[in-house]
């Protein structure tokens, strides 16, 4: 027996290739969408991995520092350092903002990292070029995705920073590239008011008789000084010594300090389950809509192709073709269309779509397998209408009136 579906496809290959191509672009978008979701999850994981922390100590009852604002006094770390199982602690600040260079700006997450040596929690683990920050002010390490180069001078708020090192794939959970600057600078940037506001605050303080006492020289200066520094950080990153269970250490920090502590797994749950949950739902909706559109297209095309073959189907039935053969003819064509579409989709997603999407698109082989199965199921379902129509064809039609 010959493959009727195969012969028909070869005969009208133009139709199949063109529709398959259109369908392929849709499938490509669908795969890219799934890839964007995977990329977001991966961004979140990379962020957590690169922070080098086992535990995140944040403001009580917040899910900071990534998903909610959190602030802690910048000396909190001293007390945590002494707790059992703690190997290293470091303050960290995060601030997502526009970073300017030569009139243009990029969105970036600015991380303020504690002074220390490479390996300190919060420090970028690997540089692709340049060196780590060595001075305590006005140096920056930027991710290559910012477009900055070594030696570039970038502006964060009112200060200028020289890019001394470059990282790769250091991103926020939003996919924004990261820029690392010294903690003190970052604290200032987070807290910085404009000159007018500073002057006004000084005037108010000076006008307050409680601070401006002629009898107590220096009091006003001290009061003003406390107002112009930012004693807060967003989180304390904790590295647990090997051999210690992070959970136990977390429990003891919680017991001694009035703070909230998250383990790596909990933090991931917050990022994936809460921070990117809305985007994930959005992507899921897109996937559903794209699947429906794809099935409608396949169903329509197969239906049109089948309608164009009603005469032939009547003849086939008249000369004794089994229903099974006719079902196979239609279903195989539908699946062939899906297969062409999938190949086109996979290629276009990998070669054209993923590289041009601004977000990181992570195409997992497993998603491709799931995608392929889904496409095949959709194609089989989409051929049902046509199969029903074909089975209803009366062989008597071939004889005519």
């Amino acid at each position: 027996m010959i493959s009727l579906a195969g012969r028909d496809i070869i005969h009208s290959w133009g139709k199949f290739v063109f529709t398959g191509f259109g369908l392929g672009l849709l499938i490509g978008i669908t795969l890219s969408m799934a890839g964007i979701y995977r990329g977001m999850v991966d961004d979140a994981r990379v962020l957590l991995d690169n922070s080098g922390a086992d535990l995140w100590v944040v403001q009580k009852n917040t899910i900071g520092p990534y998903a909610e604002p959190s602030s802690l006094y910048d000396d909190t770390w001293r007390e945590i350092r002494g707790m059992p199982g703690v190997k290293q602690v470091a303050n960290i600040t995060y601030l997502t903002m526009q970073v300017a260079k030569d009139g243009s700006d990029v969105r970036a997450m600015v991380a303020g990292i504690s002074p220390g040596t490479p390996g300190t929690p919060g420090w970028p683990p690997l540089l692709v070029a340049g060196r780590h920050i060595t001075r305590s002010h006005y140096e920056a390490v930027a991710d290559v995705a910012t477009g900055f180069k070594l030696g570039d001078v970038v502006r964060i708020r009112r200060n200028h920073y020289t890019v001394v090192g470059l990282t790769r794939r250091m991103v926020s959970s939003n996919g924004d590239p990261m820029i690392f600057i010294p903690l003190k600078d970052a604290q200032e940037a987070q807290f910085l008011k404009d000159n007018d506001a500073i002057r006004q605050q000084r005037r108010r303080t000076a006008a307050n008789p409680a601070f401006n006492r002629p009898a107590v020289p220096g009091l006003l200066e001290a009061a003003v000084a406390t107002q112009s520094v930012n004693p807060f950080v967003n989180a304390v990153l904790v590295q647990v010594a090997s051999g210690h269970n992070p959970l136990t250490t977390a429990t003891s920090i919680r017991r001694w300090k009035n703070l909230t502590v998250y383990t790596r797994a909990q933090m991931e749950e917050i990022l994936v389950g809460k921070l990117i949950a809305t985007s994930a739902r959005q992507i899921f909706m897109f996937l559903v809509i794209l699947s429906i559109v794809s099935s409608a297209i396949v169903a329509f095309i197969i239906y049109t192709l089948t309608q164009g073959k009603i005469r032939e189907i009547a003849v086939l039935k008249l000369i004794g073709t089994k229903n099974r053969t006719i079902i196979a003819l239609i279903m195989q064509q539908s699946m062939a269309l899906g297969a062409i579409g999938f190949v086109v989709g996979k290629i276009s997603a990998t070669l054209f779509m993923a590289p041009i999407f601004p977000k990181y698109v992570l195409l997992l082989p497993l998603d491709s397998v799931i995608g392929f199965i889904a496409v095949m199921i959709i194609c089989i379902l989409a051929s049902i209408i046509s199969i029903r129509a074909a089975l209803k064809v009366d062989p008597a039609e071939a004889i005519g009136g």
Binding site: R7, L318, I319, G320, T321
Partner: protein, 240 residues
């Protein structure tokens, strides 16, 4: 009565029921011997197509009897279970339009029937080629149907009707789209085939050109058949 050919006795077919019922066949008697070709002639709406559909087992008669060879296939109800297999193995169809499968080449259009019956591809194609040669279209064996002339298409359709060596061929206006010469050629081919393969052939026609070739003709009027002797002229002589 021989054990081959077709025999129809008192066949009735009513379409619909109640007020809208149409008695398309009221009383049909007919017999066609193996190797014989008969004409079936009647005005429009007289029941010709209905009769072919009953005999071709695509619609069910209302009453009567149909015998194919030594088998009663209908006797106030179907007497065969698998009508598809009956059509595939024992009845050849030739239609007014050739209705070839557009995505199969000439050989496979013909070879499809034995293939459907489970014959191997190679053997099916061999049988197809033999018939195509017989019908003088073997030079177009690998062409697609759309590339053939009307006459060539019709000859391929005849080859398809014959390839499973059915004891019965039902032809519904097989010469309608053809000019006089080609029409006579088709009839000559059907005559040859009838004799060569001992096939009983019924040709429904309006075609004045070919009516004189039948030895026997059935007239059908308002669903009732009347047998008549035909001129029985040779199509080869008529063509010259």
């Amino acid at each position: 009565m021989s054990m081959k050919g077709i025999r129809i006795e008192g066949l009735k077919k009513r379409y619909g029921s109640g007020d809208t019922a149409v008695d398309a066949l009221k009383h049909v008697n007919m017999h066609v011997e193996a190797g014989e070709i008969v004409g079936l002639i009647g005005p429009s709406g007289s029941g010709k197509s209905t009769l072919l559909k009953c005999l071709g087992a695509v619609i069910e008669p209302t009453a009567g009897k149909m015998v194919l060879g030594s088998d009663i296939i209908y006797d106030n109800g179907w007497r065969v279970r698998d009508l598809r297999a009956l059509r595939r193995d024992r009845i050849g169809f030739v239609f007014q339009a050739p209705y070839l499968i557009p995505f199969l080449d000439v050989t496979d259009n013909v070879a499809l029937l034995p293939m459907l019956a489970g014959v191997s591809n190679a053997e099916s194609r061999k049988r197809a080629m033999e018939l195509l040669r017989e019908l003088n279209v073997d030079h177009r064996a690998h062409a697609m149907p759309s590339k053939l002339s009307g006459g060539e298409q019709q000859r391929v359709a005849i080859a398809r009707g014959l390839v499973n060596r059915p004891p019965v061929i039902l032809a519904d206006e097989p010469t309608a789209p053809l000019n006089s010469d080609r029409a006579l050629t088709v009839i000559r081919l059907l005559n040859d085939m009838a004799q060569k393969f001992e096939t009983a052939i019924i040709v429904v026609t309006h075609d004045e050109k070919i009516i004189p070739t039948f030895k026997r003709i059935y007239h059908i009027r308002d669903g009732v058949t009347y047998e008549e002797k035909g001129e029985g002229r040779s199509p080869t002589e008529m063509a010259t």
